[in-house]
């Protein structure tokens, strides 16, 4: 595979771009692998990459039922942040942010990570107190976090609606190292880097069943034949329950919900930060892509669904939130909107854990926050698969935490998956 560097860009520029090799191979499935990761999204690809890179396990396959970048990797708003408070979560997401900071160099692929600041508005003294507590906890753990008063905020983002009498803007909680990245590049970058280390990426390879032997999963039936794996990892957030039941493992603390996102036509530079607006149950986040489109999203559609298409009441909700905070968007036209299926968990936190089957490992339950988590998710899932025991950061991110009463509930919303936004 040709490396991306200045020399190769110049060389290929002079010879008609003819020496570039393909980004990753399209291999035929082998009959068996040391590790088979089911799900070729960001988490599955990152897991395969770190298995090969950190643990020298290179006989790895990633099974993807569609194509790389065609699932939730292409259905998100690309926001990267680490403003978490609960033990386990803040270390995990902070490590993820650190991996993001070096990801383009690590993968030799420009993921266009832009640390443009994540600005979370608050609208009441109570909200300010609450967010101050969270951001102080972040500072105590070495994550950058600060509060902007109204004067600073008005200077940085002058065109917000500062005259909303129902929800006046009082200031903002800000993480400056947060920002966003280009979603496709992350998927392609991980796929290319994993492939270079010897990982087989098998696209159009849908899992249809499992063969069990002595309590373990011996082989996987797929649309491209039977594949054996010594160890098997699930990384199929959105459809985890379907695969879980295919392996006859029963119920999970997960419900599948859909989340919509929107892209407008491209406009000249308008917004330098990621802005989040959350009041009265509404939830709205917006940034501007490198192409100039406004990228934004809101809440779930509020009912359980596996359909990858959104419903109109939420389109209206999001449009109303946009107008409340950014009246200047009023004449802008939507280019497209889409919905992705989320694993919403009972406490809003993820699972990286062992399962009742000894050679099966679970990576699931990413709620709204799968995109930013992908590097650390791959890192710690690979660590779990290679070392057979969870790292300290994810030791409570298992299925037993509910029975033990150690829920990791950032929002304090209780066991109702749709409320963990």
């Amino acid at each position: 595979m040709t490396k991306f560097n200045a020399w190769n860009v110049i060389k290929n520029g002079l010879n008609g771009q003819s020496y570039w090799t393909r980004q990753w191979r399209d291999p035929e499935p082998k009959s068996s692998y040391d590790v088979v990761i089911i799900g070729g999204g960001l988490h599955g690809l990152a897991t395969a990459y770190y298995l090969a890179k950190n643990h020298n396990i290179k006989n790895v396959a990633v099974l993807e039922k569609g194509w790389i970048g065609g699932g939730n990797a292409g259905r998100n708003t690309t926001i990267v942040r680490s403003n978490y408070m609960m033990p386990g979560n803040h270390e995990f997401y902070e490590h993820s942010l650190k991996l993001w900071e070096n990801l383009s160099h690590e993968l030799n692929y420009n993921v266009m990570f832009s640390q443009r600041a994540h600005v979370s508005l608050f609208h009441s003294p109570g909200a300010k107190d609450s967010v101050s507590r969270i951001y102080n906890i972040m500072r105590l753990h070495g994550t950058d976090a600060e509060l902007w008063d109204l004067k600073t905020l008005k200077k940085k983002i002058p065109h917000l609606n500062y005259h909303n009498s129902r929800f006046p803007i009082l200031g903002a909680a800000v993480q400056k190292r947060a920002g966003n990245a280009r979603h496709d590049s992350v998927a392609w970058g991980y796929a290319r880097a994993a492939d270079t280390l010897g990982v087989d990426i098998l696209q159009n390879c849908e899992v249809t069943g499992f063969t069990r032997k002595n309590g373990n999963i011996e082989s996987i039936q797929t649309s491209r034949g039977i594949i054996k794996g010594k160890k098997i990892g699930f990384a199929v957030a959105g459809n985890t329950s379907v695969l879980w039941q295919m392996a006859e493992l029963g119920n999970l603390p997960i419900e599948s919900h859909k989340l919509q996102a929107f892209v407008s036509e491209a406009v000249k530079p308008l917004l330098d930060q990621v802005v989040v607006y959350g009041v009265g149950g509404a939830h709205f986040y917006i940034s501007q892509s490198d192409k100039g489109s406004m990228v934004f999203g809101g809440d779930l559609d509020w009912y359980k669904s596996y359909a990858q298409r959104g419903n109109l009441p939420m389109v209206q909700d999001v449009a109303e939130a946009a107008m409340a905070i950014f009246p200047s968007l009023g004449r802008i036209r939507l280019l497209r909107h889409w919905a992705g299926v989320m694993d919403m968990t009972m406490d809003g936190s993820f699972f990286i854990c062992k399962t009742p089957i000894s050679n099966l490992y679970l990576n699931a339950g990413w709620n709204y926050g799968g995109f930013k988590a992908s590097p650390a998710s791959g890192w710690y899932f690979a660590d779990l698969i290679a070392n057979e025991s969870p790292h300290n950061y994810v030791q409570n991110h298992n299925l037993e935490r509910f029975e033990k009463g150690i829920n990791i509930d950032e929002r304090g919303a209780g066991p109702d998956p749709k409320l963990h936004g």
Binding site: S241, E255, K304, Y306, A307, L312, P313, F402, P415
Partner: protein, 94 residues
């Protein structure tokens, strides 16, 4: 928009309703084990296909309903009152 045929009010947009959740959960007895309670409160079938689920007609008659709906196509097969006695009353008045 999903249209839900409320047995009391007639067919309305789903935006009039609030989604409850899985309608098939049976809570165990009060002295049941922690494992049983954990499974009832936290664990779900998360069916891909038709499931029974509760909806609250919160911007209408405020009654709780059991709806049989596909989580893939959103097609609705049946809508009934949650309470079995009310189900009988609705049936008798048809």
């Amino acid at each position: 928009m999903i249209r839900i045929n409320c047995p009391y009010c007639g067919e309305r947009d789903h935006s009039e309703f609030s989604y409850g959740g899985d309608a098939t959960i049976n809570y165990p007895s009060l002295d049941a084990s922690e494992k049983e309670w954990t499974r009832a409160i936290f664990f779900r079938k998360n069916i891909k296909g038709f499931q029974f689920e509760t909806w609250h007609h919160s911007n209408g008659c405020r009654m709780w309903l059991v709806v049989e709906r596909s989580t893939v196509t959103h097609e609705i097969k049946s809508v009934k009152p949650c309470h079995p006695d009310l189900q009988k009353v609705v049936e008798n008045n048809k």
